[in-house]
Amino acid sequence: MRILPNYFKPLYAVVLINIIGFLLLYFYRKPLENTTIYMGLIVIALICLTYVLIIKMNMGDEYLFLIVSMLISLGVIMLYRLDKELAFKQIVWLTCGIMLFFLSYYAYLKLELWDKLLYCYLGISLVLFLLTFLFGRHIKGANNWIAVGRFSFQPSELIKVLYVLFLASYRNDPDKLRIDNIRLKGIKLNASSQLIFMAISYCFMAFLALQREFGTALLLFAVYYTFLYVMGSKVPVMLANGAFALVGGLLGYFLMYHIRVRVDVWLNPWKDIANKGYQITQSLFAIGAGGFFGTGLGLGHPDFIPEVHTDFIFSAICEEMGIFGGMAVILLFFIFAYRGFKVSLTVKQPFDKTVALGIAMMFAFQTFIILGGVIKFIPMTGITLPFISYGGSSLTTGFISLGILQAISKKSL
């Protein structure tokens, strides 16, 4: 019997996890429904198919999708346990996501124009911002959703990707941003590209803050600041930006009620445990209820947490899969981020290098921000946990980013 190559061993683990998970889910709900089994098989099939394709067609780094598939599996299983309907939708989004993954992979690889589209990225972002202002609907405290018929989608997710592409194309060709001798009402204007770049970046963050997307604004700042560092910006520039952000943050704290609420709740959620502190304290109860191995799937009460299917799904995982389960998720995200950084290190072309770095940083910081908020390590912000939280926009843009990263990893071989 031919021994199958080593790459497939971890895949068995993912398949096994899905089998155990869906088996439990099958017995969890009475009456027993066969759709559960079918759903499990669909997930397994999607994952195996994609993984085999990646290996056989030599599509670059093998580990990126592998790790993501484990995260997806844990996410779908937990979502199914929480709400069957959401799980169905998530699986639909998963299929879309995987298709987008392949699409963006080939698009990035074959079309040679991605480094030249700086103005496009800015333009599309501006359009998205405007659309949200004009047509945005208030959902659960943030004005950042656009509804088209039955589907609603979050443009801020797409803007994250666009910003990374903007960063990279700026680095590639900074002069595109320079303003030389433009006449504005008789005054001559001159601005260095670095200044314009900074201004535009802060505009992105400001727009997001106005939409009350504080988490994404913070995320963008983290990516922006580390980008400045990696580009070798001088110490005064770094300090100036840091000070500017600090002032902005303090202003936000004092001027915006929402930010004050979040910081106060982070410091002492017990004071207003009935209302403002309710979510985070319920999250802590859930995390504590599981012990190290968890209560077991279906035996805990993660449904006591509001928004458990999106922001707080990690707490549900900690409750039913234990602290070890939670640690596993953190480790998985870490290895994933490491892999992204490695791709960025090995690829030679500066544009690709920056895009890969941006995507890796985006995933890494986003994960840190949301996990930190959910365990009360830092204040809570309303962003999603990539690949695990329920959400079409989050999942699809996650796969688009993954596709781009995958394409760059192919280029680095």
């Binding site: 031919r2 021994i3 190559p5 080593n6 790459y7 061993k9 971890p10 683990a13 993912v14 096994l16 996890i17 155990i20 998970g21 088996l23 439990l24 017995f27 969890y28 030599n58 580990y63 592998l66 790790i67 484990m70 844990l74 191995f293 968890g294 209560t295 077991g296 799937l297 279906g298 035996l299 039913e320 899969m321 234990g322 070890f324 389960g325 596993a328 480790l331 998985l332 290895i335 892999r339």
Partner: protein, 147 residues
């Protein structure tokens, strides 16, 4: 009944997740090691093994060349200096030995044997000269020694 099932399976569940994590880490580690074994120094300083086969015709990962700057073992097991997942290799298949200025190959009682220039090795060490063809498993290497 479900409660018992879930309570028991949770331990297995956690174990499988960690097994996954560790096997991924291990694979990555091996990846890094095999890159380090590639040609780092300028060619010509040490002899090396050059792969003849077409890499994309093989279902396992193998490098274009392996530098022989030290005694090296070759085989399927990851404990070897040159670890290749060729199913036709034994876990410890062969060893390359340096004595002074001379390079030798020795078969380590492998199942499918080691051939040098078509001749299957017995128990003894055989000296390698520039241009010798070495066959192990499905792979064919040329021993390159350029000084």
């Amino acid at each position: 009944m479900f409660e018992i099932l879930s309570s028991l399976l949770k331990y297995i569940f956690t174990t499988v997740i960690y097994f996954f994590i560790f096997s991924v880490i291990r694979l990555i580690y091996l990846d890094i090691r095999s890159i380090n074994n590639r040609l780092e120094t300028a060619p010509g300083k040490h002899p090396y093994l050059k792969l003849i086969n077409r890499r994309d015709s093989l279902s396992f990962k193998v490098e274009e060349s392996y530098i022989l700057d030290n005694n090296k073992t070759l085989g399927r097991s990851s404990k070897n200096d040159i670890a290749i997942q060729d199913p036709y290799l034994s876990s410890r298949h062969a060893e390359f030995i340096i004595k002074g200025d001379s390079y030798y190959i020795k078969d380590l009682e492998s199942t499918n044997g080691t051939r040098v220039n078509g001749m299957r090795l017995a128990d003894d060490m055989v000296r390698l000269d520039n241009g010798d063809k070495i066959q192990v498993g499905q792979l064919t290497f040329i021993f390159v020694k350029e000084y």
